[in-house]
Symmetry: C2
Subunit: 337 residues, 2 copies
C-alpha cells in the first residue's frame, strides 16, 4: 500500500513513521509531506532516509492512505481533495471530527463506524481517546450516564515545540536565569495551568468541549453528560486523568475492575498495598492505557472513580491513527470513493 | 506573649517564624524547638538569631502559645503535656484533628469553634483548608451536599526535603544522570503519582479520607459526601484543585461567583477572555487562595465546577495556624485550662 504522511516532521509525524515500521504495516511506498519550511529535509523511515516534500497544489498525494497530522486548517482545506484523489484520509486534527459524514473512531470502541466513511476517518482528541479506553468498556457493561474528568495533560499535546519548551523553561528555572514562554501563555516550569484553548460562554474551554462532544459521538450516547477540567502539567509525553463515572445501575468496584481487566488496550495498574498506580513516566512509550485507583465513588453511591495514564503521542494520537488504518484493512477496505 | 515553635527548622517552621514577624504578632519571647539533630542550630526571627533547643522532657515549653509542627507522633505524645503546662497548642499535624474535644479550625470558616478548645486547636490538612476556602462560602449560601475533588499537590507537602527532591530529580533528568527518589516512592521529575499515603480497603488513601472527614467536621455537615483523588505533581509550593460541587438547590455560575468574590481570603482569578486562571506559580507566596474556572457543571445540572490554587506552606499550613492564634487573641483568649 502506498501511504502518505502530511505533517511528517512533527512529534506525531515522527511517531507515525516509527509505528508504521514497528508494526510492519503493509507499505509499498511512502511519501512524507510537510510545510514548505521543512520540505527538502531528510527523515527516517525504518532505517531509510526519505526526502520530505511540500504539499502538491492539486491534492494528489499519490497514496491510497493518508495520515493527516499537519493541523486543523490544513486538514480542513485539503483532506476532501486528498480523498477525492482516491485516498482514505485518517485525520489527526479536529477539523472533521464533528462532521456527521465522518466517522470518529477509537478502534477498540467503535471500529464498525469505519465502514460508513466518506473518504475521511477522524482520530479523536487525545484526552477523549484515553478517557474512552476506560469508559467505553464500562459503558458497554453498565450504561454510562455521566462523568467528570480532571486531566493532567503533558506538554506533548503542543507537539515537539511543547516538549522543547518544558526542557528550556525548566532548565532556566533551575539555573535562575530569565526565560519567556513561547509555546504556552504561561511558564510550564514547575507550574500548571488551565488548558491553552479558548474558553466559551459556558466557561468550558475547547479541550473540555471535545471531551463532551466527541465522547457522545463515539459512544453513540447523545445525552451523555461529561464535565471536564483540562489542565496542562509539566510532564513530557503522557496524559493522566482522574475520572468519576455514573451508570444506569449501581456498579461495584469488583465489577468495574473485572470489566477493565479484560478490556483491550488497557493494563490494570492498581496495587493498593504497594501504592503503585498509573503514572505518566510508566505510560510513556507504551501502547496500552494504564488504569487504576478503581474504587466506588464516595460522593455518588453506585458510581466509580478511577485514574489513568496514557501516552498522548502514541495511543492519544499516532497509534490510534495507525490502528484505524489497520482496522480498515482488516475490514476489507470498506467504503470510500 | 511568649511563644514556642516545635519543629522550627522545617519548611512550615520557617514560614511560621517569618509570618509571626511579618504580621507583627504580639511576641515578647520566642523559643524554637526541634529534633535533637537540629538542636544548637541558629535560626532567624525577624533579623535576630535564635538558638534552636531540644524539647524538654517535662513538657514545659515556657510558652503561652505553642505552634506544633514536628510531625504527628511528636504531637500525639506531647501536645497534651504542653497544654497542661499552660499553653494553647495550635497543632499542624493530623494527631488531634479528629479528636472530638479538639476544634479543627479554618478561621474564615469556623472561628467560633476556637471558644470550646481544651488546650489544643488543630490545623486542618492542607488540601482540606484550600478546598474549604472556596466551598465553605458556597456552603453557607447554598448548602453543600457533595463534592468531587481532584488535586494537583506540590512537593512542599513533604516538607523541605520534598522541595530538595524535586530540584535534585529534575536536574538529574535534564542532565541524563541516574538519580533515585528518597522522599517519594516514585520519581517526581516530569512525573506525577497518586498521593504517597496509605490506601484503605475502600480504595481511598489517607489524604483523600482527610478531605472527607475534616470537611465534615469543619463545616458541621456529618453526611457531607466528598470523593477526592489526590495526586502529587512536580510543582514546589502551591497546590491546585479541580472541584465539582452540588448543593441543596441549583446554583448559577453568577450566584457562585458573587459569593466567592466577597469571600474572605479568596482572590478571584477568572479571566475567560485572557485564559488566565489560578496557577501554582501565581499562588506561591500569597496569603489568599486563588479561585477561578467558575462554571455550571455540565454533568450535574445545578452544580458548580471550579479550580483553585493556594500556597500549601502558607494558607495550607503556617498562615492558617497563625490566623488561628490571631483569632484566639481577638476572641479574648477563650477556654484553655
Amino acid at each position: 500500500m502506498n501511504i502518505a504522511i502530511v505533517g511528517s516532521t512533527g512529534a506525531v509525524g515522527q511517531e507515525l513513521r516509527q509505528l508504521l515500521h514497528e508494526r510492519s504495516f503493509p507499505v509499498t511506498g511512502v511519501r512524507f509531506f510537510s510545510s514548505p519550511r521543512s520540505a527538502g529535509k531528510q527523515v527516517d523511515f525504518g532505517g531509510t532516509s526519505v526526502t520530505v516534500e511540500a504539499l502538491p497544489e492539486d491534492g494528489n498525494l499519490g497514496a491510497e492512505l493518508v495520515f493527516s497530522s499537519a493541523g486543523g486548517s490544513v486538514a480542513k482545506a485539503h483532506a476532501r481533495a486528498w480523498a477525492e484523489h482516491g485516498a482514505l484520509v485518517v485525520d489527526n486534527t479536529s477539523a472533521w471530527r464533528m462532521d456527521p459524514n465522518t466517522p470518529l473512531v477509537v478502534p477498540e470502541v467503535n471500529a464498525d463506524a469505519i465502514d460508513t466513511h466518506a473518504g475521511i476517518i477522524a482520530n479523536p482528541n487525545c484526552s477523549t481517546i484515553l478517557a474512552l479506553m476506560a469508559l467505553a468498556p464500562l459503558h458497554r457493561a453498565f450504561g454510562l450516564t455521566r462523568a467528570t474528568v480532571a486531566t493532567y495533560q503533558a506538554v506533548s499535546g503542543a507537539g515537539a515545540k511543547g516538549l522543547d519548551e518544558l526542557t528550556r523553561m525548566t532548565r532556566a528555572a533551575l539555573d535562575g536565569t530569565p526565560a519567556e514562554p513561547e509555546v504556552f501563555e504561561h511558564s510550564v516550569a514547575f507550574n500548571l495551568f488551565s488548558h491553552d484553548s479558548d474558553v466559551g460562554e459556558d466557561g468550558y474551554n475547547v479541550e473540555e468541549r471535545k471531551l463532551l462532544l466527541e465522547s457522545r459521538k463515539i459512544l453513540g450516547v447523545p445525552d451523555l453528560a461529561v464535565s471536564a477540567t483540562c489542565v496542562r502539567v509539566p510532564t513530557y509525553r503522557a496524559h493522566a486523568e482522574a475520572i468519576h463515572a455514573a451508570f444506569e445501575r449501581p456498579v461495584s468496584d469488583d465489577e468495574a475492575r473485572a470489566v477493565l481487566a479484560s478490556a483491550p488496550g488497557v493494563t490494570l495498574v492498581d496495587d493498593r498495598a504497594g501504592n503503585r498506580f498509573p503514572m505518566p513516566l510508566d505510560a510513556s512509550g507504551q501502547d496500552n492505557v494504564l488504569v487504576g485507583r478503581i474504587r466506588e465513588d464516595a460522593s455518588l453511591p453506585g458510581g466509580i472513580a478511577l485514574f489513568l495514564a496514557g501516552d498522548q503521542i502514541r495511543k492519544g494520537a499516532a497509534l490510534n491513527a495507525v490502528q484505524i488504518a489497520e482496522a480498515w484493512l482488516e475490514r476489507g477496505r470498506p467504503g470510500g470513493r
